[in-house]
């Protein structure tokens, strides 16, 4: 029992409650499910980026012993609806997205047919035996080519490759800003396509109870509730007869923030075949048919005065959407537009975003979703401006920070930043990095002929998504807290953590506020039969939005508990004192009531006031009034090997402000993982399609992700600026690392190469690219 001598759980760097089962292999992932009579599906995917399907012959596949069925689009599409896109924008041109291809395929990996068999080996044999006669068609695999006249069309029936044009403009008069400028700084940046590569690929198990007309779907997803909202419209099972379960999910990073064709298809197959069906994605399928991230090309112009004052920012961005719209595909580039000005006072902005179709897998939300793109470009631009004007890059940044007193700070992009002290984070990062010494070390290294660079990024991002008015399908969150008759506490949340650690952080919050040992708290999630409502986990929303719903439940429970305590004390509620799990009434009685007694009274219910309901449970919906805006400063120091182009990160400092930290260990883990993602993006990760639309990076043999020996020892710090948006004051930290780190590392490499006169390179900064750049200057 928590008592006066114990420190609160909140704020402690506690190990995660969920980890022992995961580390010992005792977790249950989708592929661990074994249902009676379960059959296995395998999906045949297109080897062509664009082709007409002339004929599909499934006879040989169907003849294989153990094969239950082999079905094509003609068999299933009419029963599976269309894969949904939740983003609505004016004049959006969208292709109909069926679960299997119709008469054409539009990307390598496009699902063409499905085989169902008694075991997964036979199912795989069956898809090998399907004979598809393709007539290859012209391919466009490059977004800049796609907008040129005469380009092949991704979807000829749409008549254009442009899905939409999104214009952002705000603040003052942009034309006037450019007229008043002493100088226009121009830059072109490419944010390469990335493959999220969660260690657990996607997987689905569907089971249909024909008698009840009820479907249960286990799926490796971040969004069981959103699937329960959207899947009924696809397969015709009503929401209240549909249960969606997200078991352990082995990594999402946004790639599992989606409704995928397979979720509808496998559900339909379970209904059609009257038996449970399992489908587990292979790594190659994951690389080709699970969403990709980023892939934006932007041209930027900044209007500046000679003293460095930034007057305005213009940009034109082409976003490569791939061939279809997944759940949020067209919306992700618009997030870039929302935070284009970064953490700076930039009085006027104008941005045009053109979403373009190509014969590739869809892009969608990937860790940071739009904000890493914005942060990379504004932070590169700040360095380029500083370099062109010969101004100190930190001074340039400081000059444009809103002051702490400027918050809530309205930006030219239309957001209102909740709270911030950007200079404090920068100052702390400089201290942790020993900035002055870094400059001396760099000077010494350069004098010795070495290529040494220091990179800085000061970032702000959008978290705690979000106010429902800004979200496609509600941005609230739901929670429920129940004290059981045994005084154990059950917490149910509508967020769906898959690595974020809310089984621990929510238990910390509840244990403190209710005054019970954390061991007595269980946090349940990820099953719509248990967590009836929810908007799930993405956009760094879990604790800020979901945690607040839990706090609201606790408040209701304590209010109700005090009523019963007052009744038992034979006094009024205002004479009841609740502290650390005990109820007293000083001056009225010496009696002390603890939770086991009170919980018992609530459920035995023989001694309740007439107007008090039995039971001690409360649920709440929390509707946030704004996003939250975490921020920070990252500093990277690199050495570049002149001979091999190899970049080595020799020091990495990150100061992140996500508000008060419920669990600093989890915060640190999130920041570490986020920086690792950036190391991959800056130095070696890229999804490559060749000009024929063939995916070249379909395996870990060719798609490089960071490994342990790529990760330097991080020096991590924080500042704490509470958010006024929620009672916990928390902001969110799931994506901050990768938003802050990409520009810091890229800027460091460019700083190292600056003495050679190299001013720009596209990511990733692979050894060969760096070597070529160095060679070109020799």
């Amino acid at each position: 029992m928590a008592d006066a001598n114990t420190t609160p759980y909140v704020g402690r760097a506690m190990k995660r409650i969920e980890d022992p089962r995961l580390i010992t292999g005792a977790g249950t992932y989708t592929d661990d499910l074994r249902l009676s009579g379960m059959v296995h599906a395998a999906i045949l995917r297109s080897p062509h980026a664009h082709a007409r399907i002339k004929k599909i012959d499934t006879a040989a596949a169907r003849a294989i012993p153990g094969v239950v069925a082999v079905l094509t689009g003609a068999d299933v599409n009419a029963s599976c609806g269309f894969v949904p896109c939740a983003a609505s924008m004016p004049d959006l041109k969208a292709p109909k997205h069926t679960v299997l291809a119709g008469d054409r395929v539009y990307f390598v990996g496009h699902a063409v047919a499905v085989a169902i068999a008694s075991d997964p080996y036979v199912a795989r044999d069956a898809i090998d035996a399907i004979d598809v006669d393709y007539d290859p068609l012209p391919v466009v695999a490059n977004a800049e080519d796609a907008v040129k006249s005469g380009s092949p069309l991704t979807h000829p029936d749409l008549g254009t490759n442009v899905a939409y044009t999104h214009n952002v403009s705000g603040g003052g008069n942009i034309d006037e800003a450019f007229r008043k400028a002493d100088r226009i700084v121009k830059h072109r940046l490419y944010h390469q396509r990335l493959t999220p590569m969660p260690i657990e690929p996607r997987g689905v198990v569907a089971s249909y109870h024909a008698g009840e007309g009820a479907l249960t779907l286990w799926t490796s997803t971040q969004i069981p509730h959103l699937i329960r909202t959207l899947l009924p419209g696809m397969i015709g099972v009503p929401e209240n007869k549909m249960r969606i379960v997200a078991p352990e999910v082995g990594g999402g990073f946004g790639a599992k923030l989606n409704v995928y064709a397979e979720e509808a298809l496998i559900s339909h197959l379970a209904m059609r075949l009257h038996t449970p069906v399992k489908w587990i994605e292979s790594r190659r399928d994951n690389a080709s048919a699970t969403i990709h991230g980023r892939d934006q090309i932007g041209e930027y112009e900044v209007a500046v005065k000679n003293d460095g004052t930034i007057l305005g920012l213009k940009s034109k961005t082409i976003a490569d959407l791939g061939s279809y719209l997944q759940l949020l595909t067209p919306a992700v580039p618009t997030l870039t537009g929302l935070v284009l000005t970064g953490c700076y006072k930039i009085p006027a902005v104008k941005m045009e975003i053109v979403g373009v179709y190509t014969h590739k897998m869809a892009t969608d939300a990937y860790r940071g979703a739009g904000r890493p793109e914005a942060t990379y470009l504004i932070e590169r631009l700040m360095d380029v401006i500083a370099q062109e004007l010969k101004i100190d890059r930190l001074e340039l940044r400081l000059k444009h920070f809103p002051a702490p007193g400027d918050f809530p700070f309205p930006t030219s992009c239309g957001l209102v930043y909740d709270s911030g002290n950007y200079a404090a984070a920068l100052t702390k990062a400089k201290q942790l990095a020993n900035w002055d010494q870094l400059l001396k070390d760099r000077a010494a290294a350069r004098a010795a002929g070495k290529l040494s660079g220091i990179g800085v990024s000061t970032y702000v991002e959008i978290c705690a998504m979000g106010p429902s008015k800004a979200m496609p399908a509600g941005g609230w969150e739901w929670g429920c807290v129940r004290m059981e008759i045994s005084a154990k506490v059950t917490v149910i949340t509508g967020v769906s953590p898959h690595g974020q650690g809310q089984e621990t952080t929510f238990a910390q919050i509840v244990a403190d506020r209710i005054g019970v040992p954390i061991e007595d708290v269980v946090v349940m999630h990820g099953d719509t039969a248990v967590a009836h409502y929810g908007r799930d986990t993405y956009g760094s929303r879990g604790t800020a939005v979901g945690g607040t719903a839990i706090v609201m439940c606790i408040d209701k429970i304590l209010t109700k508990a005090k009523i019963l305590a007052a009744h038992l004390f034979e006094t009024t509620v205002d004479h009841v004192v609740f502290e650390k799990g005990t109820f007293t009434s000083p001056g009225v009685t010496n009696r002390v009531i603890t939770w086991p007694e009170l919980a018992g009274e609530f459920y035995v219910a023989k001694n309740l006031p007439a107007d008090l309901e039995p039971g001690l449970e409360a649920s709440s919906f929390f509707e946030p009034q704004n996003f939250t805006f975490p921020f920070g400063t990252h500093i990277a120091v690199v050495d570049v090997d002149r001979d091999t182009g190899q970049v080595t990160i020799t020091k990495y400092v990150a100061v992140d402000d996500c508000g008060p930290q419920i669990n600093p260990l989890i915060v640190e883990g999130q920041v570490q993982g986020g920086i690792a993602h950036s190391i991959g993006q800056v130095l070696f990760e890229q999804t490559i399609y060749d000009e024929d639309g063939q995916l070249v990076t379909g395996e870990f043999m060719d798609y490089a992700i960071p490994r342990a020996h790529d990760i330097p020892d991080y020096i991590l710090g924080s500042t704490v600026t509470p958010s006024p948006v929620n009672p916990l004051g928390v902001k969110g930290v799931g994506e901050a690392g990768t938003i802050g780190a990409t520009p810091a590392i890229a800027n460091a490499v460019m700083d190292a190469l600056e003495p050679l006169g190299i001013t720009h390179m596209n990511l990733p900064l692979t050894p060969e690219k760096v070597w070529q750049a160095i060679k070109s200057k020799n």
Binding site: A123, D128, R283
Partner: protein, 279 residues
């Protein structure tokens, strides 16, 4: 990732394995550590009808001194090669090379014989096997024969080992400490974009290069330029420029032919410098 159907047999002696290979011919594949064969089977790039698992054949995993050489059983894992005190004391290049292979899990399962006979053009061992002028014993229906390292690698994924033969032993000479393996890794796979192994001995310098061409090769131009000379930094730099002379470098998304050729030169120079420092 489900392989096609196959039969599985597990001989307990080399002789039995040879008989099985003779019986099944091209339908059979030997399974050693499985780190090349199993991924290929899961991707259905390899579809052997019979997998002959030689993992339980006794006495194929050892490292021992034999005359002036060190003999290594073909089924010895990379981890055992890496950790071998005998190798570290008497012929340290192979142990150093093994430490660059894959990760801990790969090194715990993958075998030296399996790696060599697979002949991946970017594998690490071939550079060192060449630089050490090793000998490889193979057993087949015609008995045992010994293949010199320089004759072992024939082309991309092809060796002098016949389809009905099994590698049983690798012998490397004892060397001084003046050896080194320097590698630039392909970031995704961990294989070598270019790896250079050098042995500086009383009778000259030998240099093996992997990752650059369709097969690993001896950098004859480098060896010739260094022969009988004092290894000054200038000479090393000049000689290393010959590291990719006369070869046809590979190119792919990870490195162009010219970058591979360049890395061969840089890594040869660095390996030579390293080996000299160890004297």
């Amino acid at each position: 990732m489900y392989p096609a159907n196959f039969d599985y047999v597990r001989p307990s002696t080399v002789e039995e394995a040879v008989r099985l290979l003779a019986k099944h011919g091209d339908d059979a594949k030997l399974l050693a550590g499985g780190h090349s064969l199993i991924p290929a089977m899961k991707l259905r790039l390899a579809r052997p009808k019979v997998v002959v698992d030689i993992g339980r054949i006794a006495h194929l995993s050892y490292i021992r001194e034999a005359g002036g050489a060190i003999a290594i059983g073909a089924m010895t894992t990379h981890a055992d090669v890496q950790a071998s005190k005998t190798l570290r004391d008497k012929s340290p290049l192979l142990a150093e090379t093994a430490s660059h292979i894959g990760d801990v899990q790969v090194r715990n399962k993958g075998t030296i014989g399996g790696s060599l006979v697979h002949a991946d053009p970017a594998a690490d061992y071939p550079a060192s096997i060449l630089a050490l002028d090793a000998e490889i014993d193979v057993v087949g229906p015609r008995g045992t024969r010994t293949i010199k390292a320089v004759d072992f690698f024939v082309d991309l994924l092809q060796t002098a080992v016949a389809a009905d033969e099994i590698v049983t032993e690798i012998r490397v000479p004892a060397t001084a400490k003046t050896v080194a393996y320097v590698k630039t890794e392909q970031k995704a796979s961990g294989f070598a974009l270019a790896g250079a192994a050098v042995v500086i001995g009383p009778n000259g310098v030998r240099v093996g290069i992997t990752g650059v061409a369709a097969k690993a090769y001896r950098a004859a131009g480098v060896e010739k330029a260094l022969a009988g000379q004092k290894l000054t930094p200038d000479l090393i730099a000049r000689a290393s420029a010959q590291a990719s002379a006369g070869v046809d470098p590979l190119g792919d998304i990870h490195a162009s032919p010219s970058f591979r050729a360049h890395l061969a030169q840089v890594n040869t120079r660095r390996a030579l410098e390293q080996a000299v420092r160890r004297s």
